[in-house]
């Protein structure tokens, strides 16, 4: 049987309820950057929320990209390891190089309305088997007789992104 190659996507939601140090830095700095860059699209100072800007101002959807500059250095600090997602023995095992940053909501008046998402796209994995609720995978680069594998569950906000 031809082996299936998959990549996973983990969409990490960060908002005012996030407590971890890394999450807080991303939350606070992305809000600061939003307040800076939103002014370009809000020169008449008419709008307060990201949703209003996207709805009324041409080009305001670029704020996703523009605000991402505030969090790129935090991504680098992860050393290419997808946060939060562990295999069944509790080790973080997913490697990423690709990401996507999104502003979900934000409000120039209240930081507690600020909510962002970072989607982490894993490097390719070989999907060997499915055992009960778990997927058995190994990194695509591994090519020896004995393969080191990871066993993990598909959990909320984690999905199979591509299949080949």
């Amino acid at each position: 049987m031809k082996k299936k190659i998959i990549t996973l996507c983990y969409r990490k939601i960060i908002d005012n309820s996030s407590t971890k140090a890394w999450d807080r830095l991303v939350f606070e700095d992305s809000y600061k950057e939003f307040k800076l860059q939103a002014q370009f699209y809000n020169q008449v100072k008419k709008y307060n929320t990201f949703a209003e800007l996207v709805h009324h101002v041409k080009g305001a959807e670029k704020l996703h990209y523009l605000v991402s500059g505030a969090i790129v250095n935090y991504l680098k600090q992860l050393n290419e390891i997808v946060p939060d997602i562990a295999n069944n023995i509790g080790r973080q095992f997913l490697i990423f190089k690709q990401f996507k940053f999104e502003l979900i909501n934000s409000d120039l008046r209240h930081i507690d309305k600020h909510k962002v998402a970072i989607s982490f796209y894993s490097e390719p994995l070989i999907w060997h088997d499915t055992i009960a609720p778990y997927l058995l995978t190994s990194p695509l680069t591994v090519d020896i007789d004995e393969t080191l594998t990871d066993l993990f569950a598909i959990q909320p906000y984690l999905t199979i992104h591509t299949l080949s």
């Binding site: 990490k12 939601i13 309820s17 996030s18 140090a21 890394w22 830095l25 700095d29 600061k32 950057e33 307040k35 800076l36 002014q39 370009f40 020169q43 959807e61 670029k62 996703h64 990209y65 523009l66 991402s68 500059g69 505030a70 790129v72 250095n73 935090y74 991504l75 680098k76 600090q77 050393n79 939060d84 997602i85 562990a86 295999n87 069944n88 023995i89 509790g90 080790r91 973080q92 190089k97 690709q98 990401f99 996507k100 989607s119 796209y121 993990f152 569950a153 959990q155 909320p156 906000y157």
Partner: protein
Amino acid sequence: MERKNFLRSLIIGAASAPMLMDACKKSSATSEVGTTTTVTGGSSTSSCAVAPTETEGPFPTHSPASYVRSNIVDGKSGYAFTVKIVVGNSNNGCNPLANAIVDIWHCDAEGNYSEYGGSGMQSTNYTSLHFLRGRQTTDSNGAVTFTSIFPGWYSGRATHIHVHIYNSSGNSLKVTQIAFPEGTGTAVSLVNGYGKGMSGYTYNKNDNVFSDDNSGIEIATVTGTTTAGFVLNMGISVPA
């Protein structure tokens, strides 16, 4: 089953349905409590997957936005280009404005901006994501300097650099663009669109941003050659 008994079972079923719904509510509430006590890592989502169980670290440290740098080249090729901007306070005799935040961005030699690859729905590699975009804070002379490449041109616009100036608190003071001198011997004509020539170029007088600038106040001083590189000097006054 007799018809009577069947009907009775339906009635009992209907009567017990709200209780069943309550039971579901209770069990889901219970499992949420269980989740918050057992899941030590992960996001705030409820799941029964194993949470990361590893030595803590690496520890995140506060980092400025990737824009905060003087060299904004990010591996883009083009003629060396130094951008020097001096910010003055028009509410204070145009004296130098210190501690102002200055954002600049411009296109590459081919006329593309960095956001063209990063604003869509696709994923992106985070290296060089924000090329030719930078942020500096003015010194006591109101000056900032960026190291970049000379911008190319694209259809419909004269050569330009975008500038957004904020005060030290991050409040917007000015959104503007810097225009370039034109004509024989100028940087724009020496660079010659990086070989694509000037056919179809939009000159300042026809540019939808610069055409109303009759006094040339938006045009910078640009000196240099393709071998030595170019230097742009521009003074911008803002009400601070």
